[in-house]
Symmetry: C2
Subunit: 329 residues, 2 copies
DNA sequence: AAATGTTGCGGAACCGGTTCCGCAACATGA
DNA sequence: TCATGTTGCGGAACCGGTTCCGCAACATTT
């Protein structure tokens, strides 16, 4: 199974290497030679060596995707969307994982550049000066998903707006004593925007909100649910920054035999599949992760072509009103 | 930001390209020149061009991973394990998605070979002659996860054994009227082994089992749950081939106000995170997906070194006895 | 018919590494 | 002291493509 090279083709067809190359890349080739080469290539199953091509062109048909975790629902869905679109147009996705370490994001930016990916899609959590520095030195189009920054093309979820919409709905339903379970502020989109959207809605209605901070892990949210169980009489609603946190809180409440939504309401954020099949089904905001992946792939391709792309694009969202939050008015 | 080449280094250091190359690859280089080159490389931040290297060596530091779906819990966890170990030893993971199409598995086998990956880890569903043909022609070590075949190195979950163990437990608890909700047989491990393990246990105890077939999708399992709700009096246990199916069935039962495990018991298979936090928590078998990924990475590396590796390796499993299945004896 | 433009094609250089070969300088053994 | 390793290093070829340049054959214009 030796690799067939362009020289082999040239020899068999009785032409020069350069002619074969021209044939492959759409240069001017006469009809007769075209047919000859065509036949030889077909017969030999010739496939150009990608390393030789990239060595010369300093480019690949790869788009790097930097993800904080491989096993997050949001990241998986987004990757699906990206992959689907990219394969359609003959590009490949190169996923690199940072295991939630900011330092590795920066490393990977440089690393992907070294591998000459055509573009980078970055599912970010924080944007620092060092990130920006990396992005500007590597000279490769970068598209940021999920966070925003004026100096980077970004595709963002309307976290603030969606949280505000959901919060407003809850206040209309009469919730006045609320606990918000959020995450650390270093994640701008989730830790700040999402929280602030909720707070704005509740403040406008004069509701009382207590903020609790946790992590993205389900386990860490369970004790919070257990603890809040004792206050089920005085609070009417627990708003969680992600569906996973909601899951943990619900578990904690169930451990203490608190019934949702009868004793207390609980909401999530994100729109993970299981929120619908959970019992009770969970009221949440659905974010279009998969479609966002497709959009991102499209945008990076446009950037590659040199088209101008809006620096900031918002995706849409959808309120999923389900069983876990009661209208108590 | 021009790329620094080995020639630049050679020129600045006043030596030949070949000497620099020897320095980089541990050939014989004198102390004085060694230091000179060392300094120049450090100062220029020189990084070898990977395409030029691969062009010559016909090899990369990449391991291809073929997955049927990007958003499956099992696949994600396995990928995490693979990635973690590979980055430790300086390899990279190249994930390719087949979107559950067998044809694309074969395509990707060839495609990855074209990209000169050092090895391939394949999360398989079916093994056909065409797969075997591909594997043998590409001449690259392949490690199959989740399915088994005598001609391919495989790392498999003890589906039959685990299902048998779980089934035996259930019969000991007195379940005699059982429905098994499985998937299509083309997936050998899940569709056949898992089912047969259960059936063996139930048959040994003389229990009556009805088999229903569905897909891997949660949505498809919901109507099954709804339909089985009407038989809650006559059946005591619904065994599901995967945790996702269990989720759907539970939803269907809840839609019909059937209480689990009071009216009927339900079990899953796989050990997904959410089975623990679901209410009621779901009795299932925990498969070590992440660790399996690490093992797979280790094994493929051994194959690369030419070490001999067992053709078939079984992972372990753990029964997770939780709330969703009652002891009715 | 001569001048000019087009088109098709081969040759050679180049991308940035690795490796083989051979030579010189030095160290070792007889 | 001479013959025989050993070590360090430079030169050149090679991996498999792409692209620039120039030449010849043919077509077009005046």
């Amino acid at each position: 199974m030796k690799q067939v090279t362009i020289r082999d083709i040239a020899e068999i067809a009785g032409v020069a290497k350069s002619t074969v190359s021209r044939y492959l890349n759409g240069g001017s080739v006469g009809k007769a030679t075209r047919e000859k080469i065509d036949r030889v290539i077909r017969e030999t199953n010739y496939e150009p060596n990608q390393f030789a091509q990239s060595l010369k062109s300093k480019q690949t048909k790869m788009i790097g995707v930097i993800v904080p975790r491989l096993d997050s629902y949001a990241a998986s869905r987004t990757m699906m969307g990206i992959d689907e679109l990219l394969t359609e147009v003959g590009y490949q996705m190169l996923v690199v994982n940072t295991a939630q370490q900011t330092e590795r994001e920066i490393e990977q930016l440089y690393n992907l550049a070294k591998q000459k990916v055509a573009g980078i899609i970055w599912l970010g959590t924080t944007v620092t000066k060092r990130h920006l520095e990396a992005i500007s030195t590597i000279q490769i189009p970068v598209l940021l998903i999920g966070q925003q920054h004026d100096d980077v093309h970004s595709l963002v979820y309307p976290d603030h707006e969606a949280a505000y919409a959901l919060g407003t709905q809850f206040t209309e339903w009469g919730h006045r004593n609320v606990v918000y379970v959020g995450v650390y502020e270093s994640d701008i989109a989730v830790g700040q925007d999402r929280r602030d959207g909720f707070l704005k809605a509740f403040q406008e209605s004069g509701a009382h909100v207590r903020v609790i901070q946790t992590t993205f892990k389900i386990e860490d949210a369970i004790p919070i649910g257990e603890q809040l169980a004792s206050e089920a009489g005085s609070i009417s609603l627990i708003v969680c920054a992600t569906d996973n946190i909601a899951l943990g809180v619900l578990k904690g409440l169930a451990n203490r035999d608190i019934s949702v939504p009868k004793d207390v309401s609980v909401s999530g954020f994100g729109g993970y599949d299981f929120t619908e099949v959970f019992h009770p089904s969970i009221t949440t905001v659905q974010l279009p992760h998969r479609k966002t992946g497709e959009m991102a792939a499209n945008m990076i391709l446009q950037l590659l072509q040199g088209d101008t792309v809006a620096m900031k694009t918002f995706t849409n969202f959808e309120l999923k009103v389900r069983e876990s939050v009661d209208n108590i008015k």
